[in-house]
Symmetry: C2
Subunit: 169 residues, 2 copies
DNA sequence: CACCCGAAGTTGACGTGACAACTTTAAGCT
DNA sequence: AGCTTAAAGTTGTCACGTCAACTTCGGGTG
């Protein structure tokens, strides 16, 4: 019975500014990436994942797992990026799609963007955090991801391990 | 030269899990709201803002300021919600649009949803945080919002004050 | 071998959010 | 009054993300 029936005013205030802060930060990073390198955050994520792949070529499913995105999201994103000639989908002789790779344009875009983008993340995000704030956010993030993944039946390890070195966004 | 040229691995890890956690949380809240009450987060935000308005009727601009959304975003959202008969836009005799209000359907939707949604926010967000973590996150959020608003020339007070009691998401 | 089933991938429809261009109104100024 | 302007609101276009439906392989198993 200690449970309040709705949130306390200061909880609403916290919730609102948290949601808004996230949106403003994402927008700012996206704008900078677009202005300086002509690509979006989503495009950057795909490009950098492909760039890190040893072969430089991945299956759609690998991309989806590595990014922790749904397959359909990846497929749509690849279609848009193929139109912009940032990636190409290769086909075997029967027209079957077998892999995704960077085009020259995609490769140079990501190589140009990587340092600048990382720098923006540092300036806009990490340099505004105290160690306690960083720890709080990190802890919360891990719990949230673990909880949702546990719920949707992701057996044992699965995605969690991969997240460590991927996805960017 | 103390500045690293890119982010540290644990910074990438924090960044990635944070981005993912946001997305998972937003999706979960949205799905619950949709399943239990038939409305989306965006719709809920608009409905609850209108519901809190003393008159029950607001100008588009007030709505935009209260939610800290861009005008065009509000206009598009209202068009969709008008089609679904959650709100109505009233016109004066010359066909001029003068205000937005809840329909009966909109009112009952928000009145049904408010407690359940608040409860989900508490369960998914607040109950996973210690008070110190909440305080750290709150502090950072305010700083981020203030910084971005200062940059985009929002004179003096402006939006910040309004956020305190609005927007939800 | 034939069949069926599940994984991989695509597609369409839809809601969301950002940005820019535009129209109309309401004020101000001289 | 008449002219100019900025605010208010709308619209179009585009990218992003989710869900559901669908196609097509690749393997088993009878």
């Amino acid at each position: 019975m200690a449970k309040p029936r709705t949130l306390e005013p200061e909880q609403w205030e916290l919730w609102n500014s948290w949601m808004q802060a996230q949106r403003l930060l994402a927008r700012e990073l996206d704008r900078d990436l677009q202005r300086d390198y002509g690509i979006s955050k989503a495009e950057f994520s795909v490009l950098v994942t492909l760039h890190r792949a040893a072969e430089g070529r991945m299956r759609v499913g690998e991309l989806a797992e590595s990014l922790a995105w749904e397959k359909s999201r990846v497929a749509h994103q690849l279609t848009r990026m193929e139109n912009r000639e940032l990636v190409d989908r290769t086909e075997d002789r029967s027209g079957r799609r077998i892999g995704v790779g960077l085009t020259a344009k995609g490769r140079s875009a990501v190589e140009n963007a990587i340092l600048g983008h990382a720098d923006n993340i540092r300036r806009y995000f990490f340099e505004t955090l105290t160690p306690e704030q960083a720890a709080a956010i990190h802890m919360w993030s891990r719990q949230m991801v673990d909880r949702v993944e546990a719920r949707s039946g992701e057996g044992a390890d699965g995605i969690t391990a991969k997240i460590a070195d991927q996805s960017i966004m």
